[in-house]
């Protein structure tokens, strides 16, 4: 979930690993990247990972509370993207939401399959959101981070929700809780959870509709 001071990631990877074409790619947009991925351009895969991995790691690490497992999920997501990008539709199926959806689904599958909720909650209680020694604190450079404007738009959409609706969205969407788990966590009836989620999603669908591209 949103923090007021997110980590700076725009200037990461200053090593020789950083591809020379990274900045021009940000201008080229998602369509170009997709075309190159479909044509099996391996450099495009590297650039996709550079652009998308901070967000995918954010999602998976936030849900799994385990950086190693989060990395495994992100690897699975990019492998799936590399294998199946040509099956993605054109206009309506944007690449980034597709990757995010795969990442969320796989993270939730892991949470449920391995019954990690208790472990996760214990860790959260013991360390806060994440073990402090495993969080990489870096400077903020918002403008340099591709996708930052989408991050801000999502925050704006979440900020206008009533706090009680925002809280159930946080638990359902960013933590992978089910209705009954949310009800237990917040000590409210299941029906209330469902109503709040439904109302929140109705608003979010409208608020997020204008977002079209994430790289620009």
């Amino acid at each position: 979930m949103p923090r007021s001071k997110p980590p700076r990631i725009g200037d990461l990877d200053p090593s020789p690993d950083a591809p020379a074409g990274r900045r021009p790619l940000a201008l080229a947009g998602e369509a170009s990247l997709r075309r190159r991925l479909v044509s099996r351009d391996e450099q495009a895969l590297v650039e996709l990972i550079e652009l998308a991995s901070p967000w995918l790691l954010g999602v998976t690490q936030g849900m799994l509370s385990d950086p190693d497992e989060a990395r495994e999920v992100v690897l699975e997501v990019f492998a799936a993207a590399w294998d199946r990008v040509d099956s993605l539709g054109d206009e309506h199926d944007a690449l980034m939401p597709w990757l995010l959806r795969i990442a969320r689904n796989r993270a939730i599958d892991r949470l449920r399959r391995r019954r990690r909720f208790k472990l996760k909650l214990a860790r959260a209680e013991a360390y806060g959101e994440l073990p402090p020694d495993r969080v990489r604190a870096v400077e903020v450079d918002e403008a340099a981070q591709p996708g930052w404007h989408v991050h801000q738009s999502v925050h704006a959409a979440l900020d206008v929700l009533p706090p009680e609706q925002r809280e159930v969205v946080r638990l359902a969407y960013f933590r992978g809780f089910t209705h009954s788990e949310i009800a237990k966590e917040l000590a409210i009836p299941m029906g209330t959870v469902k109503t709040r989620l439904r109302l929140a999603f109705d608003k979010l669908r409208t608020s997020l509709a204008p977002i079209k591209d994430w790289i620009a």
Binding site: P6, E42, E47, L100, A172, H179, L197
Partner: protein, 242 residues
């Protein structure tokens, strides 16, 4: 509300993955045999697709992208992974070539077959609940002091679902609706609206309510159309407890 209304109401929850695991399986099964829900679920996935970017990004370590790309590109069984697909594709091509002359007829047959398979899957699913039922409950429905049809409940302990059959009940009076409820240790839990027709029974396959308290029975009430509360306010027509 019909049984399908439960799926409509829970589409966003399905997309968010906030349904209980049993409910999620039920919803996924439904997607196979529904024309409308897969389309609406896809639309919701698009509309909420950017929401995960509300999460703060996490900085990957240096060299992360190159290393990850290398792992993906150098998967040792990469070629072998695609071999079965290639063989299958080859066989499909041979099959396609052999059936070129009958392609049109073939497509029609496939569509009809898919439609029938979908209907068959739905029937088999309902039948499986009936056949696996470890408990069957039956009670009369009373309206205005007169017997008016019956309520049958088949409980399937394997899939944690009920097949509920309501028969002999006339359509609900104007301004009213029939409402099915679960009775749990902690109170009533709203389930689906029953759309009744005296000419044929209403079948509903229902997942257990996602509450911690065990289900102890069920009730059918006639509610004012405007009652969407978590508590019944109308007349009880049938009531059964284990």
């Amino acid at each position: 509300m019909t049984a399908h209304a439960w799926y409509i109401e829970n589409r966003a929850a399905f997309v968010a993955r906030s349904l209980e695991p049993g409910e999620e399986r039920t919803f996924r099964d439904h997607l196979v045999r529904c024309d409308e829900c897969p389309r609406e679920v896809a639309r919701l996935e698009r509309e909420l697709g950017w929401l995960p970017m509300g999460t703060d990004p996490v900085a990957p370590p240096p060299g992360f992208a190159r290393q990850m790309a290398a792992e993906i590109l150098d998967r040792p069984s990469r070629w072998r992974r695609h071999l079965p697909l290639a063989v299958a594709a080859g066989l499909a091509l041979v099959s396609l070539g052999a059936s070129m002359s009958a392609r049109h007829e073939g497509r029609e047959l496939r569509e009809r077959l898919a439609s029938r398979e979908s209907r068959l899957a739905a029937l088999e699913d309902t039948l499986s609940v009936l056949r696996r039922a470890n408990m069957v409950l039956q009670t009369q429905i009373s309206m205005n002091g007169h017997e008016q049809g019956g309520l049958l409940i088949f409980q399937d302990a394997v899939s944690h679902r009920w097949c509920v059959i309501v028969h002999g009940l006339p359509p609900a009076p104007s301004g009213s609706k029939y409402q099915f409820w679960f009775i749990t240790e902690t109170g009533m839990v709203r389930s689906v609206e029953v759309v009744a027709d005296t000419r044929r029974p209403a079948f509903m396959t229902l997942p257990m309510p996602g509450v911690a308290a065990p289900v102890m029975g069920a009730a059918l009430t006639m509610e004012p159309m405007a009652n969407w509360s978590d508590e019944p306010r109308g007349v009880t027509l049938a009531h059964v407890t284990f």
